[in-house]
Point group: C2
Chain length 232, copies 2
């Protein structure tokens, strides 16, 4: 009997935003895997650090930063092989996923390699979108409104074209694209409704009107433009 | 000292998808409020029924079905007054919100009436989007992809125009708009990638390729069109 692979959303950062199921799977785990940078701590692991049981086997999936945009397939090939070994030995493997596993998550690379060969269960989590909206203290979208989630990485004219055609919007992955995204929002006259949020749900959370945002933004930050109906 | 108003996401339906914080607030509550239909059970209350403490004071917010699209403001005026009375008496009030409080949620009507007058805390929850994606067992969006959330209630040509301009898509609020939404997806040649999900995370969950979906769909169901990058 092979083990089961669990893709478990651990939420946006506050350990209190784990689901009951995630908490149970993690506290009862014998093997966990998680994405990790080549230097420093794994964010996904840090979120659940207080819940990790003793004697746990850990499989860090080290993705070199320079490959962060298009992750080296070999990294995931190797991680999948290491996880498969555990599953073949009958041990369940819990993969810790920041936010929600299938909302811009790297879990999909393991899923693509292991699904079909082993039982896989997905445990959804609170996404960064929910955390950012809660931080902003603004309803994001209401009633018949449309919502667009746009990565700031896209070309300026594309971003603008999509922004004018939606009611509510979340611009993600700001980092070095922040100045561009901000410029687009300003040019379209949407700055008054726009909120900047970084590190949502964490002690170092920043949340302010876009016009008061710092000059630079981390990769994990967002500009939120709530829908107009969402204020009633 | 007035009490605090908590807008608490209770997730998509499976009680196991409550967050630890939601669980703690609900098991320790003295007053809860929740949306309820004029006949039958409240879905939000049902999700957490097993966690409700004894001796709890309950404030059902009964929204008559015929006003479901544009809720009668008086219903929320009255509910807000009843909740304010509890807060003024120094009691915290936990409002149970299906999914996430600010993602198409009716909590915004209470928030608009009580914010500023009382301390308010928002507890994000697992949204229907996360639950539907987990049910579909498909990564929803990846890397530089854009995601659109579109209510099926919009006119057919609007829906089509927005659908062609996004990488990944979730069409919500199907109900009596299901046939139209399905027609649009088919016309744009997207049926092959489209998945139909209803009652995500619940025992009666249905999940199938759109082409195999039943003739009719409940209001709480979705068509998911995962991004092309999200399969690697």
């Amino acid at each position: 009997m092979s083990g089961t692979l669990y893709g478990v959303g651990v939420g946006p950062g506050d350990p209190d935003l784990l689901t009951l199921r995630a908490h149970r799977l993690i506290t009862g785990a014998t093997v966990v895997a998680y994405p990790a940078p080549d230097t420093g701590e794994s964010f996904a692991r840090r979120i659940v650090a207080e819940y990790l049981p003793e004697g746990l086997r850990e499989i860090p999936i080290v993705v070199p930063m320079k490959h962060a945009r298009f992750p080296a397939q070999e990294v995931y090939d190797r991680a999948a092989a290491e996880i498969a070994e555990q599953l073949d030995a009958g041990r369940d493997v819990v993969v810790l996923c920041e936010g929600d596993p299938f909302f811009y998550g790297s879990f999909m690379y393991l899923f693509a390699r292991l699904e079909g060969r082993f039982p896989v269960r997905i445990v959804p989590g609170v996404s960064s979108l929910g955390a950012v909206t809660a931080a902003a203290r603004r309803p994001l979208c209401a009633r018949e409104e449309t919502l667009s989630v746009l990565p700031a990485t896209m070309p300026e004219h594309d971003l603008a074209a999509r922004l004018v055609r939606t009611d509510a919007c979340a611009i993600m992955k700001l980092g070095r694209h922040f100045a561009k995204a901000r410029r687009v929002v300003e040019r379209l006259g949407l700055t008054g409704r726009a909120v900047f949020v970084s590190h949502a749900s964490l002690p170092q959370q920043i949340c302010c009107p876009l016009v008061e945002a710092p000059e630079t933004a981390p990769y994990f930050s967002m500009i939120l433009i709530p829908g107009k109906d969402a204020h009633v």
